[in-house]
Amino acid sequence: MQDTLENIWIIAKREFAAYFATPLAGVFLTIFVALTGAFTFYIGDFFTRGQADLFPFFAYHPWLYLILVPAVAMRLWAEERKNGTIELLMTLPVSPAEAILGKFFAAWAFVGLALLLTLPIWITVNVLGDPDNGIILTSYLGSLLMAGAFLSIGSFISALTKNQVIAFILAATVCFIFVMSGMEMVQNTLRAWAPEWVTSAVSAMSFLAHFEQISRGVVSLQSIIFFLSLIVFALFANVIAVDQKKAA
């Protein structure tokens, strides 16, 4: 166990540092902070709403993650396979699960860092008014959890291809489906022909619905379990994908 945790930590450290070896990290962090700011202040009407909360800030997170998180996840395995370093990694005394968790946590920490850099927005709202900081904290945690779910899907898909562009597009598409599944539009289309349980199952998979709950300050166990179990499931699929595809 000690060994396992240590291996995960060593791999996560290397992977996290790898983000900063290229300009990608800087570009990503800048875009993330700029876009969250733009959405909050311009599109979200932060100033004219006259309310001291971060609702407009968090409301756009699912849509931002849709594009940005697959960009963080795409290189995780596709790059290893393309450069052949997967052969090196998998012949070190490391289990596939350790490698997958290490990489996943590194990517998650990276998105966490991006979220951390949005703290000035939180400071702004506290300067301007008297927001409910409890709700803001749970929203941040919910956002991080949702990012983890996006990432786990992206990591799994990254293991399916050597091409990072394909990994990005596929992951963004799958995440889009997860985000959209709760929308009225999708539900109506389904209701027309699918049995009731399918419609409600699809709606229950909606990232949007679960995240909205959390960002309203309702920390329901159901939503937390939903995101966590999705992460576990996607990472489990990731182990299988790496195992099947590593030599191809």
């Binding site: 060593i10 290397r14 790898a18 052949g84 090196l88 005394p93 590593k246 030599a247």
Partner: protein, 318 residues
Amino acid sequence: MTVLVEASGLRKVFGNTIVAADGISLAVKKGEVLGFLGPNGAGKSTTMKMITGFLEPDAGTSIICGHDIQNEPKRAKSKIGYLPEGAPAYGEMTPASFLAFIAEIRGFSGDAQKIRIAAAIDKAGLEGVLDQRIETLSKGYKRRVGLAQAILHDPPVLIMDEPTDGLDPNQKHHVRNLIREMAPDKAIIVSTHILEEVEAVCSRAVVINRGRIVADGTAEDLMRRVPYHGAVALRIAPAKAGAAKEVLSSIGDIAKVETVSKSEGAVQLRAIPKDGKAIATEVAARLREKSVPVEELFVERGKLDDVFRQITTTREGA
């Protein structure tokens, strides 16, 4: 001597039809350097990937220092140093940070880690490039980084897939010296299609073709397969050719005497021994005894190239 690598019945089929390895079994003892030969696509890399636990074989397994790579992958892998084909490494890292990562994951920390890294850097000759990104290094240096990574934990088993491929002659020489240096206390497997390398560093050669082992022995054993191996070639003045032939025919260990060529100044004769026996001394002594002047006398050696071609092409149709 202890057997450190024992592969048995390794078989791998890709996509139901391509049999990359078809029941490969081999054992490598401590102190042995096994040259793994074969044409491109013969299954060398696939076999090495199965031995090192990267690929799961469809049948068979490999046992490294008593640990089955399937059942105890971590223990077995910790005993192996592996240089995959093309020496992959994380391009965005520097050799220093890359080796630190490898050392950490191999379980070294503190002073032990520093000592290991320093030793690997020294052996692989990486001093000058420690802080450059690996992706900016030349092919030779990249290979050295891979080599340093493989020997960092001083593994009892060292497996290298084409370690000198694409290196210049000096670099090849350096890598071969390194292999020779490490040989006495390790079991080493080196795949190659450069045959001079086998003669230079390997104590044993295994030739595989179409996923099967087609020859296994020392370089000398392999060369004995060439019909002319050990034959004695003579250059003699035309006037004395008849006398020389007579002398040679009277030697019991000689199977046949051929005339290779006749030119203005000299006749080339070749005496082929029975069962690869050494005949050179006797030939020289007898000719001197009968006072037949010889302009030139040498023992022909089979070329590994010929053996390789013979083994890997003649059996192909079979």
